[in-house]
């Protein structure tokens, strides 16, 4: 009898504990892990509460964010998985615990590795997060309030210097609490965008896509690529990129489509290695992102791709401006659903349709001497677009782009040099003849004579002699890393200089411009999300 009572007590206790456990699981906000393979790989360490896995179920990130998490587990926690297993984990998490396209779009620049000067509208987040990371790194995460707190605690544990870096913060506890509350409010685990995305995923169609982009140092380009869905999330692609100077380059590669919209590819352009980071719109019609040289991510084409079978749409017009009085110019219109019935607005006469296909129309045009300065409505069949083509009277000024710019030394040890491709961009002052106003017209890149000039930040530092060289096409190559015995105090080949461009514009005389370059030292850690 005593034995029977004891058994009943144990069973009752087990039931009570199970009910409490289930209750807590059902009441929590979290994303259950539904893959047995993922559960097998993660739950040796992470607690599995009926699919809600500790830490993991309360986070959403980009594919690169998940890669960074796994990389840290490999370095610090001894995670031992193969490259294929890592890829399958990233694909699972990007699909079920990824970010919606609308959540990624404002911060895609860091995934695309585009140097950007950020604006952050919250000083507490700047103090707590942006002293080391970009704001984009923070903004590309979604967590529950408890999970944001755990992230802060992790930082205190593995990077104790964090406390000293905030030496000017008077009340650390208060500042941290304010920051965590703000992060929880700005970047919660569940958002309307995410709910929409998981209910209706973008549908990417294999087949022919039209390319339109701009590459510093080369100019605008068009082209076509064909996507082939090899299996599941995997694609191959091949096609041709055609620059505005007529140069054609073959492009091909392999891609993984994370979460139905995050395209990450590696391949070749004219035989040289490239990588691609694109994000596909929710309607599945448009890729936006970059294609960059590997490992020189700074040499890139900023690109849009549209499904060739899509409706009438103009992606770009090359060249994007013509001078009044130009005769016999060739203009290329790139887009989808085009036809040879092309027009480029008042004062521009289409003399001849050189070629016409649904994705590219080439016409020969004359521009009247009296054509008014300004943007035109470009048309090719039923497709039309404003703001893509303009007529101007004269090149009034040039700008050095990008400015400010940043390069990094390298080349001798493991660090790869970070180059800068400058362009001298020509502008017209527009109809009002006043430069730097809203009606100015960007005409495009012009061939300039390039130079490096000293900037007066310090007496006799001779930065211009040491920071690097610039070639005839505006490509700046920084110096080698390491101390330089030829410089005062063995200063590295770093400094701040002016990059100058001089251009003899037809009819406008000599035009000059300068841009600011910070030539600095290598990054010794390159995170998936910097």
């Amino acid at each position: 009898m005593r034995k029977k009572t004891g058994s009943c007590f144990i069973i009752a206790l087990a039931c009570a504990l199970a009910a409490a456990w289930a209750g807590s699981a059902l009441g929590e906000t979290g994303i259950p892990v539904t893959s047995d393979k993922v559960l097998n790989m993660c739950t040796d360490c992470h607690k599995n509460n009926r699919g809600l896995v500790s830490r993991i179920s309360y986070i959403r990130q980009s594919p690169e964010g998940w890669e960074e998490t796994l990389w840290r587990h490999k370095r610090v926690r001894g995670l031992s998985i193969t490259k294929e297993e890592k890829e399958s984990l990233i694909r699972y998490f990007s699909t079920y615990q990824g970010l919606a396209p609308a959540e990624v779009a404002p911060y895609a620049y860091t995934l695309e590795k585009r140097d950007t000067k950020e604006k952050v509208d919250n000083q507490v987040i700047v103090d707590m997060c942006v002293r080391c990371h970009s704001y984009a790194k923070t903004a590309l995460q979604r967590r529950t309030p408890e999970e944001w707190t755990k992230l802060a605690n992790m930082h205190s544990g593995v990077l104790p210097m964090w406390l000293y870096q905030l030496q000017d913060v008077l009340d650390w506890d208060k500042e941290l609490a304010t920051c965590l509350a703000e992060l929880s409010k700005r970047f919660p685990l569940e958002t309307p965008e995410w709910k929409e995305w998981i209910s209706v995923r973008p549908k990417t169609v294999a087949g022919k896509w039209v390319v339109s982009g701009y590459q510093a140092g080369k100019g605008s380009y068009g082209g076509e690529i064909t996507l082939v869905n090899t299996s599941g999330d995997f694609y191959t692609y091949s096609g041709t990129v055609e620059f505005e100077n007529g140069e054609k380059q073959p492009i091909e590669g392999k891609a993984t489509l994370y979460g139905g919209y995050a395209w990450r590819a590696s391949g070749t352009l004219a035989g040289k290695p490239i990588r691609e980071v694109f994000h596909i719109s929710m309607d599945g019609s448009t890729f936006k992102g970059v294609r960059f040289d590997d490992p020189h991510f700074e040499l890139r084409g900023v690109e849009t791709r549209a499904f060739a079978g899509g409706g009438p749409r103009i992606l770009s017009v090359m060249p994007k401006a013509l001078k009044a009085g130009t005769k016999g110019a060739t203009v290329t219109i790139v887009g989808t659903g085009l036809s040879g019935q092309a027009s480029l607005g008042d004062g521009v006469t289409v003399k001849k349709v050189v070629s016409a296909s649904p994705t590219k129309v080439v016409v020969a045009v004359d521009v009247s001497d009296k054509a008014a300065t300004g943007y035109r409505n470009a048309k090719a069949g039923n497709a039309a677009a404003d703001g893509l083509f303009a007529v101007y009277k004269a090149i009034d000024y040039i700008k050095v782009v990008p400015s400010p710019a940043m390069s990094r030394t390298g080349g001798l040890g493991y660090a790869v040099k970070q180059l800068v491709q400058f362009d001298a961009m020509a502008f017209s002052s527009g109809a009002d003849d006043i430069p730097a106003t809203a009606d100015d017209i960007e005409i495009g890149r012009v061939p300039a004579a390039w130079g490096i000039r000293e900037l007066a930040s310090s007496n006799d530092d001779h930065d211009a002699e040491f920071v690097g060289t610039i070639d005839r096409n505006g490509l700046f190559t920084p110096g080698n890393e390491g101390p330089n015995p030829k410089r005062f105090m063995q200063e590295n080949n770093m400094g701040d200089v002016w990059i100058t461009a001089n251009y003899a514009a037809p009819g406008s005389g000599k035009l000059s411009a300068r841009g600011y370059l910070l030539a600095t030292i290598p990054l010794y850690i390159q995170r998936p999300v910097q």
């Binding site: 620049y109 080391c132 007066a456 390491g482 990054l523 010794y524 850690i525």
Partner: protein, 107 residues
């Protein structure tokens, strides 16, 4: 600069540069580029004036002192707690700096 006048050689040079230098806002505010740290005392790749002149010279003299487990710029240079091998082949940064690895995901 409206109420200030350069009195020495450097001051006069800076006056000549006029106004198109990039402005780095107050300390801890906005980094130069999004990959830079905004800790400016000292900064890693840029100082609080937007230049490099107030960084350690050469940077190798300071690199180990500020990248051990109390890493001053953990977003830009590896800390040796999370990345114990990044400087394993480099006993003295001023001498062996070419052996400093660039830490990135490898599988």
């Amino acid at each position: 600069m409206k109420h200030l006048k350069g009195v020495n050689r450097k001051g006069k040079k800076i006056e000549k540069e006029k106004a198109d230098l990039p402005v780095v806002e107050a300390q801890g505010s906005i980094p130069f580029m999004h990959t830079c740290t905004s800790v400016f005392n000292p900064g890693y790749e840029v100082d609080w004036t937007g230049s490099t002149k107030q960084l350690c010279t050469p940077i190798e003299t300071d690199l180990f002192g500020t990248t051990d487990m109390y890493c001053w710029w953990p977003g830009q240079a590896p800390d040796t707690y999370n990345n114990p091998d990044w400087n394993a082949d480099c006993n003295r940064a001023m001498k062996d700096w070419m052996k400093l690895k660039v830490v990135k995901p490898e599988w």
